[in-house]
């Protein structure tokens, strides 16, 4: 069967979405994790909203990074375990098309869902509603970038038995710029300053990884698949 690249991509995205909605537990776990981690901070620091508001951007972003990381492990894993990944690799379609589709699907399931849940956390941490738009936009850009970086890490560690810890070790240092600009954008929006600067940086990082990371992730997958 001969399918164009776009058709193949949309087929894979649909398949991934279908698979995740059939296993709602897997879909919800990172989100619940996100909520629980953010709950830990008021308990461990102080329930005062004024103090929490100062910490909120950092808390939000660290929790978002960790919960995205949690779902990264399954990006290629289940497909590699049952041989689907190898079939996809030899199906005649460019491997990079498959990688792009899978990373996008991962973002839709983990990142976009996280963006939708984030206002809940924002209210709980005392972030003013005027900052919600910036918070959600920065999270959307940041999680998309993280899905790309994560695809590189997941591609490198997919064949490993204990790749989980290694994956965080690889991805977290690479993701630190995201944390800096993302938390900064949210922080500025809370303080009433213009968040445009850090948001532009986030967008630039997002475009940068969108263009280069697919190549790196494809090369990583080739190394572990061959």
């Amino acid at each position: 069967m001969n399918v164009g690249a776009w058709a193949a991509m949309s087929l894979i995205v649909r398949r991934e979405l279908c698979l995740s909605f059939r296993r709602p537990g897997q879909l919800l776990q990172p989100l619940v994790f996100f909520l629980i981690v953010t709950t830990l901070f008021p308990l461990s620091l102080s329930p005062q909203l004024s103090l929490l508001r100062d910490m909120a951007p950092g808390v939000l972003w660290v929790a978002a990074l960790l919960s995205s990381l949690l779902s990264l492990d399954s990006l290629f894993k289940s497909d590699a375990d049952d041989g689907t990944l190898e079939q996809l690799a030899i199906c005649g379609q460019e491997l990079s098309v498959i990688v792009i589709a899978k990373a996008l699907a991962h973002w839709l399931v983990s990142g976009a869902a996280l963006v939708l849940v984030s206002p809940l956390v924002g209210i709980a941490l005392g972030i003013p509603t005027s900052a919600f738009a910036t918070m959600m936009l920065s999270l959307a850009l940041g999680t998309l970038t993280l899905s790309w970086l994560g695809a590189i890490g997941a591609g490198l560690t997919v064949g490993l038995r204990r790749g989980n810890v290694l994956l965080s070790l690889i991805v977290l240092p690479l993701a630190m710029p995201l944390l800096i600009f993302g938390a900064n954008a949210t922080d500025r929006a809370i303080g009433g300053a213009s968040p445009a600067g850090p948001l532009y940086f986030l967008a630039a990082l997002c475009v940068f990884t969108c263009t280069l990371a697919p190549f790196a992730a494809t090369a990583a997958l080739r190394i572990t698949l061959e």
Partner: protein, 244 residues
């Protein structure tokens, strides 16, 4: 021309070249570091502000420079190995990683020792310190990835790819960390403008830089020979080299 190059880059010939270069590199390193240490620690004048404490720069700055240099060597050797399938490149990358990580650690340690009397604290979240720390994490990631694969060749290629991705990321991390601190900054600890360093202080520093680079190259040669021996342990030339 290419066959000549591939022959030169074959494990036995690199093993021999590394063996021949090691004493020269280490000998010259000893001279350069020896001169730098004596001139820097004894003869260079005291700094009018920092007193004798500034002298740690003679170890600190070269280590910090080597931490970046060793990373670039690792990434470039990995890229060469990936692109032209020259196996020795992976050996060079594997040999360079622990040395670079050690230099990073030395730079961080000497920096914090200097920070204690100068800034009043061992550690500050200064952009330079933070990006150096992240560099250490990148080293750790590359070093942990290589042995994680059961198939050594796969581990090599994966580590090479990660090193290249990291090389692209290092400037991004560096600048983002710099802007991070300038955007919302607490109490500033270090404020010294472009230091116009006196020639009597500069010469030993340059000598130390040269010495550290030579030392790195020498240690790299030693480690490289070890790596090659381990990787080629089944080959006949290894048995001959060891027997002779």
């Amino acid at each position: 021309m290419w066959t000549w190059f591939y022959k030169l880059a074959s494990p036995p010939s690199v093993y021999g070249i590394a063996a021949a270069f090691t004493p020269w590199l280490l000998g010259l390193a000893a001279i350069a570091i020896g001169y730098g240490l004596v001139d820097g620690l004894v003869f260079a004048p005291r700094d009018y502000q920092q007193g004798d404490a500034f002298r740690i720069i003679y170890v600190h700055a070269p280590s910090a420079w080597m931490s970046l240099f060793a990373y670039s060597v690792m990434a470039i050797a990995g890229a060469i190995a990936l692109i032209w399938r020259i196996k020795v490149g992976h050996a060079v990358a594997a040999a360079s990683a622990p040395i670079g990580a050690s230099f990073t650690l030395v730079a961080l340690a000497t920096g914090s020792l200097w920070g204690r009397p100068m800034w009043g604290t061992y550690w500050a979240w200064d952009p330079r310190l933070t990006s150096e720390l992240i560099l250490l994490f990148l080293y750790v990631g590359v070093m942990a990835l290589r042995p994680a694969f059961e198939d050594a060749g796969r581990g090599d290629r994966a580590a090479a790819l990660l090193a290249i991705v990291g090389l692209v990321n290092v400037p991004i991390v560096h600048y983002s960390v710099q802007w991070w601190n300038s955007l919302h900054q607490g109490a500033t600890v270090a404020q010294f403008g472009a230091p116009k360093i006196a020639p009597s202080m500069l010469w030993p520093l340059l000598s130390m830089l040269l010495g550290f680079t030579l030392f790195y190259a020498g240690v790299l040669c030693i480690r490289l020979r070890g790596e090659i021996l381990v990787r080629e342990r089944g080959a006949t030339w290894v048995r001959e080299a060891i027997a002779s």
